[in-house]
Symmetry: D2
Subunit: 252 residues, 4 copies
């Protein structure tokens, strides 16, 4: 019969912790945190610069100020008298399909297209016909150049980590602009979806980069909320517009 | 009047993301993720090897197999048909005072003692008189040498990051053994509490290392659960011992 | 410009709380909790016995022992030294598409079919052709009669709250048995999906009954865990089957 | 050896669900939801009107508009593209020590005082000497009469459920006003702490009423957010006051 508790990720015994077979003390001494993320996500240590690229991706995700639903949620939860981990967990729970959620579908589009040998123009026109948006392109604030996209593409090129998926994403940018008559630049979700695909990762892991990278930002916001602001952060009742029924009585 | 939305952590404008004043693209190009954690937690970039030590700490926290309440919680939540971030958030929410929770009180003990100039023997005897445990010492599985403690102390020494707090923690180990007549080794929480204190960090941030470091482990466990196991993981009703009242009828 | 803070649900002023227009003190005095759930979900107080039926549904969802992924998650989280609300929140977060998640798709199937005038046989055959399961039918433990289904149908009949959707669900049970040659009984998700549809509710609210009803069960499990069991509930490392790579060295 | 899975709360077998010994179908038919809450929290069904009082308490907690940290958190999380249960869980996780958190310490104060036979004046003066606030008294919005407090006290009196703890809470109100020279009225947390104490409940369960009662409010806010507002609710970057360091370059 199958064991109820079973895992291939790590083994613990007294005095020993193996992660994917490697002793934790060797990993701690020889690897960067990006290597460990790569190891946990793929099962193997990087052969090239993948660990450094993972770190760069995590850094690019670390903060976006209060202009972010999850960070705003963290501030309210943190103000309520809860432990650090509770506020951070609320932030992570809000990394939904509309907030950091384009990485995964972007990676799916790119991986399917590369597998089937489709070119950028075909993909873009197919999506338009299905009235679907191209996931990972366009940004409500960074309408032109997103500084995170530029630096990640530069580093990936320097580290020889640009492959078919990222090239296709770059062509999609051109195809979109031609078709729409205006730029639709790759956003940070899009570039991560492309780069993780070139690192051979399962699209289902797309949100992992945002989750881990932003978690330290949530910690900072929780600490700032608790140490610098009044507790019980909430909209003032005077600022709430009530659009429901007027005062009414039961049976009235 | 105070702004409702206010932060010193980062600024976002179209085409610009500043973290503690630094442009995100410069941070992405020049820093490791540990530097960014240090920057977000303290407000400044490291002057020495602190970023590397933060990375080593994160790695030491990344995994502890299923012998961990939070990882077990992640597996059950992940089996229920929820998105990745939901399962990871459940794990993070379980980093409670009894699970990764000794870092903070250990740092408090050490920072107070260093400030007041107390030696190890005095601290240990005071805690005993108050019938309090020394937080950050002893481990239910790694009773002798915890491999994570050894490597973190070695790296901190190589990187010149051992200061008064870590030295005091090492003396506490000796004082405890002398007093108890058996070893009470520093555990991974204890060494992190000591090292973060030597890096000048607020004890209230103690759980941050475990939160961020373990988050990637939770991602791996979620992915394994969803791709390798049946859904709806739960105790079988046959395996549950019921200790409540026998079957009874209302009004019976 | 639109207000940032806007709601039709309730209004708060000093000395006044209106819910959907009704003063909270009138609701507290005159209504049962099921009436309030109905009011919050639909905008109006029930005209008949809907509030009583909502209460019956909540009760039917309140507990399923440890044979439930979310309850198991609650027990692990609760053992980690966290506040009550944290453990309950972890349980609620696990009410996923595979755990309490059939109410919503069942209600969608029924509401679409009633709208289009489809009969049970047609629906069932269509789903089979699309190789889709009929949501809300069949149960891994309660293979024959689920006591919750029986009592909810009886009460709804007594309270004149059975309409087209529930009748269709009952016909689907017959159609499924005829087509499969074995019973495929309606489960508790199915009956709730049917009854909420007859009460005119949006299928998107399907999980609400399970969320609210089970929340008190999670409270009880958290309290039992904290007061009756050892802290740090986790699989013992000896009970974990490790299926990953053998011990290996970096560069080895 | 102890079973790993053990509970006195409920038993599940094929075709049978017992809650504290009672068959679920009998509970569903004969009880109100408040009875079930009482049963789960105390182990027994009420002998008097306790179930009705629990319902009244749940109703009094159900909504407080957007003037609430947890509801605001729910709105942001809900806007991010997550399932219903995720947004509700975020709200529940924010029922912290500063938000619904006075029920428990108020019940502790009252239960200790009743046990030790202390009168209101003594308790209040002791707290003042220790520079502690009296938990469960005073409200930032409802400075005078909180309508929830009034109706709960009236109903408890009608249902013969006022005992020593609630009487003491009422005397504390008078003692506080005499001592301070201004009113410090009991708030909704305070009255719940008093009433649950008179129902014989453990103070550790204090937040349960708010958790369960407000959960349906969180459902309504999630549904309103998703169906009535734009997605990705967040502070606009233009509205965020940045108080950190000016733009600076690394090594600059």
């Amino acid at each position: 019969m199958d064991s109820f508790w079973k895992t291939s990720i790590s083994r613990v015994r007294p005095g020993e912790i193996l992660v994917r077979g490697y002793p934790i003390e060797q990993l701690t001494r020889n690897c960067c945190f990006g290597d460990i993320c790569y190891l946990l996500l793929t099962g193997e240590l990087p052969r090239g610069n993948e660990g450094k690229l993972v770190e760069a991706i995590l850094i690019s995700c670390c903060e976006h100020s209060l202009a972010s639903p999850s960070v705003d949620a963290v501030r309210f939860v943190a103000s309520s008298g809860v432990p650090l981990q509770t506020a951070v967990a609320a932030g992570i729970s809000a990394i939904g399909d509309l907030h950091g959620g384009a990485i995964e579908p972007c990676a799916r589009v790119l991986q399917a297209a590369v597998k089937e040998g489709k070119d950028a123009k075909t993909i873009f026109e197919e999506l338009r016909r299905q009235k679907k948006r191209l996931p990972g392109f366009g940004h409500p604030v960074h309408r032109d150049l997103d500084p995170r996209v530029k630096v990640l593409l530069e580093l990936a090129a320097e580290w020889s980590l640009i492959g078919d998926h990222t090239r296709l994403a770059q062509e999609l940018e051109k195809a979109a602009e031609e078709s729409l008559g205006r730029p639709l630049p790759m956003n940070v979700d899009g570039v991560i979806g492309a780069l993780m695909s070139d690192m051979g990762m399962d699209p289902a892991l797309g949100k992992a980069f945002f989750i881990v990278g932003r978690s330290i930002g949530y910690v900072a916001h929780t600490h700032e909320q608790v140490t610098q602001e009044r507790s019980f952060k909430a909209a003032s009742y005077q600022d709430v517009e009530y659009t429901g029924p007027d005062r009414r009585n039961i049976d009235g």
